[in-house]
Symmetry: none
Subunit: 255 residues, 2 copies
């Protein structure tokens, strides 16, 4: 239910960015319980983020969605990261794309020697800055705050100036036909460009991506050389990957 007070709370939050429950209760001359109810409702409506003791405007300083996304399946991602890293030799040039799983790969690459890494992911650049045996080349682009990605034409343009040994990409979703999907058209442009400018393409993803969907098609699993995943693929996709010549590497399974 919309009330005058809830609107006022929103305007106040827009001005201040944040407010405590006590302050709001005092300011509107109501009890804290009333304020709490207001804030709970505003949170459910997606307008504010509730924190202990108060609330902040949604989309403010902290990025809840990304933090949450990074925590999701964190253990699996670390395993996938290590698995991919095992297939990356020293003295190699790499693309590393946007995504929490690709960041896990970057972390697993901290001990590798003599890598040249091109990335459009600020987090990957920050991580690999810690490996002094690794030359880090950052692609240009517009900084997307939600995930540290560099996107847009500038990123694509820049990537086209390289040709690397291996590209490591992620995907927001996968479907059982073997298509890789994403949400942001601008990012898909970058991903396609990365695939074109790499000799081999590795997809790093966790199995939960099969349970999600996204509107834009990046490419087919037929276009990648290897898939690294934490659980077997659904349906007959494993068989089709075999036909496509796409090797599938599953965490914990050694050949």
């Amino acid at each position: 239910m919309a009330t005058l007070r809830k609107n006022d709370i929103l305007t106040l939050l827009r001005a201040e960015g944040k407010a405590t429950v006590d302050f709001l209760a005092d300011h509107f001359g109501v009890t804290v319980q009333t304020v709490r109810r207001d804030l709970t409702e505003l949170e459910q409506e997606g307008h504010v983020s509730r924190v202990h003791g108060g609330a902040t405007l949604r989309g403010g300083v902290t990025n809840i969605q990304y933090d949450h996304r990074r925590e999701l399946h964190a253990a699996e991602k670390e395993q996938i990261g290590r698995l991919v890293a095992a297939y990356i030799p020293s003295n190699t040039s790499l693309f590393i794309n946007i995504g929490t799983t690709t960041e896990a790969v970057a972390r697993a690459l901290l001990d590798h020697e003599n890598l040249t890494v091109v990335t459009n992911n600020m987090n990957v650049a920050n991580i690999l800055a810690g490996n002094s045996n690794c030359e880090v080349i950052v692609s240009g682009g517009t900084l997307r705050r939600t995930d540290g990605g560099l996107v847009g034409d500038l990123a694509t343009q820049m990537i086209e100036q390289f040709k690397v040994d291996i590209a490591i990409i992620g995907a927001s979703a996968l479907d059982e036909d073997g298509d890789m999907l994403d949400f942001d058209l601008r990012e898909v442009g970058v991903s396609r460009s990365i695939i074109r400018h790499a000799r081999r393409v590795f997809l790093a993803t966790d199995g939960s991506k099969f349970e999600r969907t996204a509107p834009v098609r990046i490419a087919s699993l037929a276009d990648v050389d290897a898939v690294f995943i934490d659980q077997p693929m659904p349906g007959d996709l494993a068989q089709r990957c075999l036909e496509w010549g796409t090797s599938v590497h599953i965490v914990g399974q050694h050949y």
Copy 2:
């Protein structure tokens, strides 16, 4: 768990670069243990780097030499940063170049509205990621670990695709003839390109740079529109700037 205080700590760190546990405890009126827990959590969330006695903003390049350089004349740099920020209106497009003083400017810009900032400095990008009113465009380039700079042809190439209202540059050294100097030839190329592709050029520097020297000449003070500095310039340089039409703004002196 997100709290109001943890968000505030983050904004404070973005503005200051670093903070001690004692200062934060005093500032928020809580005990040091509470601050410690906050910082530990923020570290686990990947937002800050914990150091003995306090914390620093994460993301960035952690380099002892660079950290030391950043602490050098830190107070002066903050003042210069605020001074420059006062001359930057809202709704403006900016270049921000490599350098500890330019980073201080970025920190002072956290409250500005509607900026478009192009930068080849990873630290600046990380700082301004905290200002959601600001579009951040990162130039491509090879990551230089010593200072988070993006250098090389790629950076130059990318900068040439822009034309901004104001460029904010620094310099490693200045001489009494009014020449700006630097150490790295690759960086000088970028600086020159930035000067060419901005309508106005601001030099932000501290007076100690007159006591240092460097091998490569970037340009003359005659090529910049305004100098922001913490102390009067030596010799007859102030007079010559007047002849060149280069305005000089000194911290603490109001006109």
